[in-house]
């Protein structure tokens, strides 16, 4: 038998008090919308997370530098050999750029796509595996504000990753687009039909696009891209959200349900770009 040193306090009584405090905190902090109640705590712990994350990245960078140097040398030699081929393509590229610029002007997109962005690095994820939060290494001192749109570049696509929900001085927390509490006004890139995208929070990180008119069915194909519509939303128009994976049409419903695969795989993302910061 080991020595007990609880000073005569009944563990059951303390348990009851702690459970009541926890329950009250859950009720008053609101379902999955942690607002003012948790912000003071988040800012403090996010600060610690930022320091740890930066230290980890610096060590990782140190070890990676030598490997990258070797890779860069190989890439340089390879690039030198290809340079001759690309010189011929340059003239075509200039022409394509001019054409692209003109088309963008005609569609009214050019202004919408000129975002101020803040590059940032993902430093941490949810510690308990139960939620999908992400922490980045930029905060209010870098011009970030709550609600800012977060994008990333992956496999040749510049796509939507989520939005900023908590900002500390040197770090911030992101709610990814795959989270079910995340809604984005969207449209199909090709057929221009509109809908509302939300996360499903499931294993595959799928998204669901609802309220797409049933009459749009014949114009929609698997693998069509879905982009932000910019309609009454914090999200600027034209950011790629995902690709159609499945089209669902129910007899009793007047609209289609499109299952999307996000263009940005949150689990693989390392760097992000925050749009619309103060900077």
């Amino acid at each position: 038998m080991r020595e007990r040193s609880d000073g005569g306090v009944r563990p059951e009584a303390v348990l009851a008090i702690l459970l009541i405090i926890s329950i009250l905190l859950i009720i008053f902090s609101g379902p999955l919308h942690g607002k003012a109640g948790k912000e003071w705590g988040s800012r403090f712990v996010l600060g610690i997370q930022k320091v740890t994350g930066t230290a980890t990245e610096n060590i990782k960078d140190g070890f990676g530098s030598l490997r990258r140097l070797r890779e860069i040398r190989i890439q340089y030699e390879s690039a030198l050999a290809k340079l001759g081929d690309y010189q011929g393509l340059e003239r075509d590229l200039v022409e394509l750029r001019r054409e692209n610029f003109e088309l963008k002007q005609q569609l009214g997109y050019s202004a919408g796509m000129d975002y101020i962005h803040i590059p940032s690095r993902i430093i941490a994820r949810d510690p308990s595996n139960l939620f999908s939060s992400i922490t980045i290494d930029k905060g209010s001192t870098d011009g970030l504000r709550v609600g800012a749109v977060v994008t990333s570049f992956q496999d040749g696509f510049f796509g939507l990753l989520g939005k900023v929900i908590t900002v500390a001085r040197h770090s911030a927390q992101i709610r990814p687009v795959v989270d079910p509490d995340h809604y984005v006004a969207s449209r199909l890139q090709k057929s221009r039909y509109e809908g509302l995208v939300e996360g499903r929070g499931n294993e595959g990180g799928e998204l669901i696009m609802s309220y797409v008119r049933k009459s749009a069915g014949p114009d929609i194909r698997i693998n069509d891209l879905v982009v932000t519509s910019g309609m009454q939303s914090i999200y600027p128009s034209g950011i790629v959200i995902g690709r159609i994976k499945e089209i669902r049409s129910r007899d009793y419903s007047t609209s289609l349900e499109l299952i999307l695969e996000p263009i940005i795989d949150v689990t693989r993302a390392e760097y992000v770009f925050i749009l619309g910061g103060d900077g």
Partner: protein, 169 residues
Amino acid sequence: MIGRILITSTAGIIFGIVQSVFLSKIIPFGIVPDIAMIILIAASWKYGSLVGEISGFIIGISFDALGLAPLGFHALLYTLIGYLFGRMQDSISPGPIFLPVLAAGIATLVKYGGSFLVSLIFGLNSGAIRYFSLKTVWELAGNLLLAPLVFLFVSYLAMLFEGKRGGFN
């Protein structure tokens, strides 16, 4: 007792940050073993329910601050886990392998089962919480593998502090 709570909570929070910052980057899909939870069950088993539940509450609150969970969500789960495993203090010694592995398995199931119940009772968006998926199995496997090592670490930590200071109760 305050010393034991401080040591357990500090170790739990440090490992919570390590698993969210460091382990999530080196393990595929970012599914990391919950070392903080294993530290909690090992310390609760060693020091009893009171230390377990208070440490669990503190570790849980720090997890709530780190993620998208509403404040109190992890606090409630980890308080319960700390209390439950603290009840084992006077009944049986954990030993080196079998019981730590079993305890980590049960604690993981309590964590996921508890999160399901909490989301159900408080009307939280159940889709936002990952439970009972392939990723849960990965986490369970990681917890089972690491449990004997973490129990050993907690014993070492206790010996280190109690040996140097003549106990921190």
